[in-house]
């Protein structure tokens, strides 16, 4: 299998805090790789390193065989990397359609504006937001904003999609819908790296799972392996609420 993304000993510090510590992993084309870990483990920071928001202090990152360490986010977007934000960032005063058009217009394909509206409408239909297209993005509710994040990323027809807790804050029905949506995105051939706290979902969706704790990669394996991993269970015991959820759902 082809490696789409590879990190080598990535380190990111904030002052004295080592938010990401020597993280190395590989992501294969076509797979869904889950990234879990307690709150503050460094998951979002790792995403920020991968897509160029932060430059890691140490280590290298390769995407599509190219060393992309320190590249700007826009340049990575042009290479086919897209992401959603844990804390949604709608372009509030633009319409939902315009938000998605931005994704289509400036991603890898860099479509001319005349074609982006059509792409946007297709993606919005796929995500069940078609009837909101002309509404201002700021007026959507949280669940809709999460889907808008996804719609913008998808409209760029990315090769790699980084999902940061797209299920958080959704009710159980919405979670099921979103899980189904993610599965269908993968079927379109898009590789996915996803951070998730909803264990049932991540265990269900992922081909493999990475576990971060205090910035370090403490485990890597299939969902079954991860569920039985001693270190993982210990790490979650540090976060009793999550440990409970972990145990319950399994």
């Amino acid at each position: 299998m082809n490696v789409l993304l590879r990190t080598e000993n990535v380190v990111k510090r904030f002052g004295g805090l080592v938010a990401v510590n020597q993280v190395s992993f590989e992501l294969y084309e076509g797979e869904i790789l889950g990234l879990i870990g307690p709150n503050g483990a460094g998951k979002t920071t790792l995403f920020n390193c991968i897509n160029g928001i932060y430059r890691p202090e140490e280590g290298r990152i390769f995407f599509r065989g190219t060393d992309i360490t320190g590249w700007s986010p826009s340049r990575l977007a042009h290479m086919g990397m897209a992401r959603t934000f844990q804390i949604v960032r709608p372009l509030a005063e633009l319409t939902v359609r315009e938000n998605v058009m931005v994704g289509a217009a400036f991603g890898e394909k860099r479509l001319p504006l005349s074609q982006t509206a059509r792409v946007a409408d297709e993606v919005l239909a796929f995500l069940g937001l078609a009837d909101r297209a002309d509404q201002l993005a700021g007026s959507l509710n949280v669940a809709q904003k999460k889907r808008l994040e996804l719609a913008r990323a998808l409209a760029s027809q990315p090769r790699l999609l980084l999902l940061d807790e797209v299920l958080a804050g959704l009710n159980p029905t919405e979670v099921d819908e979103m899980v189904e949506t993610i599965r269908r995105i993968r079927e379109q051939g898009i590789t996915i790296l996803m951070i998730e706290h909803v264990m049932r979902a991540i265990m269900n969706l992922s081909d493999r799972i990475l576990v971060l704790d205090f910035g370090e990669l403490i485990a890597e394996g299939t969902p079954e392996e991860i569920a039985q991993n001693e270190r993982v269970i210990k790490a979650y015991l540090g976060d009793p609420k999550l440990a409970q959820r972990f145990a319950l759902e399994e």
Binding site: P73, H78, F85, V102, A105
Partner: protein
């Protein structure tokens, strides 16, 4: 929602109405009124490119006006360049200044950017003050022999009016183009959330720099036209901070980030200004009134008149842009 062609026609019609009126009446007083209006429209609409479309509040718009004025004046009065080429150079000089400082100062956000733009204006004023080719503190004066080549002072007043009219129409057309183009979509996304835009593939520094450069080109042209007809230029007239502030008020009043907003805002503000100037009591506090007005707009209708209409009556979005 399909956008109606009125989104283009309305702004153009308003400018045509203002611009053509003196041409029909051929009255000097009408020409002078329309000159003031068109200058305000051109300054506000060009400021809107960086302020309204890109979301960067510049208090330094007038620096481009003054620089364009000086460069053109110098080339015409001292170097004998033809008027049209001097005007073009005035615009290009202003654009070049924006391009050169843009890469640096557009990294700053919010109040920091605003403050630095004031600094740029003051620094330029101080520089010109000490720059002998531009006459230093005294400035430059036009030799009336230069006007002769253009048919005398009265002909110059009409010629510069025609020029300003055309430049204003171009500014409005460019505003419209930006608003409906991919370039404009990139700018709007920066205004809304610069980091998110960058992640979606918008090369934000490139977009911001070009928006700033374009936004500076037109005040450069306008300054060049104005000071040529003014027959003299000096640092105080060329870089008045209050013109920057008034331009912001005009943009905000009409609706930042819209095409027609800055046009209506300029006309509305100029109308109010005439009223203030003719009122003895208010004459001396017109700037205070502008500041107060800005405060009221920001507090109560931050989207301006057109923004408010578009939000309150969604049907108007079809033809108000």
């Amino acid at each position: 929602m399909k956008r109606s062609l009125w989104t283009l026609f309305l702004p153009v019609l308003v400018v045509l109405a203002v611009g053509l009126y003196p041409l029909l009446t051929q009255q000097d007083v009408h020409r002078e009124t329309s000159f003031t209006l068109l200058r305000a429209v051109a300054l506000a609409a060009s400021l809107n490119i960086i302020l309204g479309f890109t979301g960067y509040v510049s208090f330094g718009h007038v620096v481009f006006y003054g620089l364009g004025g000086y460069v053109a004046f110098y080339l015409v009065a001292e170097k004998g360049w033809p008027f049209w080429s001097a005007v073009l150079m005035g615009g290009l000089a202003a654009a070049l200044l924006a391009f050169l400082i843009g890469a640096g100062i557009l990294r700053l956000r919010g109040a920091y950017f605003a403050l630095v733009t004031i600094g740029v204006n003051e620094a330029m004023k101080a520089f010109i003050y000490n720059f002998q080719p531009f006459g230093g503190p005294v400035g430059l004066t036009m030799n009336f022999a230069v006007y002769k080549a253009y048919g005398g002072p009265r002909a110059v007043l009409w010629m510069t009016y025609h020029w300003l009219f055309v430049v204003t129409l171009i500014v409005v057309a460019v505003s419209y183009w930006i608003r409906v183009s991919k370039f404009g979509l990139g700018l709007l996304s920066i205004r809304e959330d610069e980091d998110a835009a960058e992640v979606m593939g918008v090369r934000t520094s490139w977009f911001k720099t070009w928006a700033f450069t374009l936004s500076a080109f037109f005040p450069g042209l306008v300054g060049a036209i104005f000071f040529f007809r003014n027959a003299s230029i000096e640092p105080h007239d060329a870089f008045p901070l209050h013109v920057s502030i008034e331009s912001i008020v005009m943009v905000m009043l009409g609706g930042q980030g819209t095409v027609i907003g800055p046009i209506l805002g300029s006309i509305g503000y100029q109308w109010m200004r005439v009223f203030l100037l003719t009122n003895r009591l208010l004459k001396n506090i017109q700037l205070a009134v502008a500041g107060g007005l800005l405060l009221l707009i920001v507090l109560f209708i931050p989207a301006g008149l057109v923004g408010w209409l578009r939000r309150r009556f969604p049907a108007t979005r079809r033809f108000l842009l």
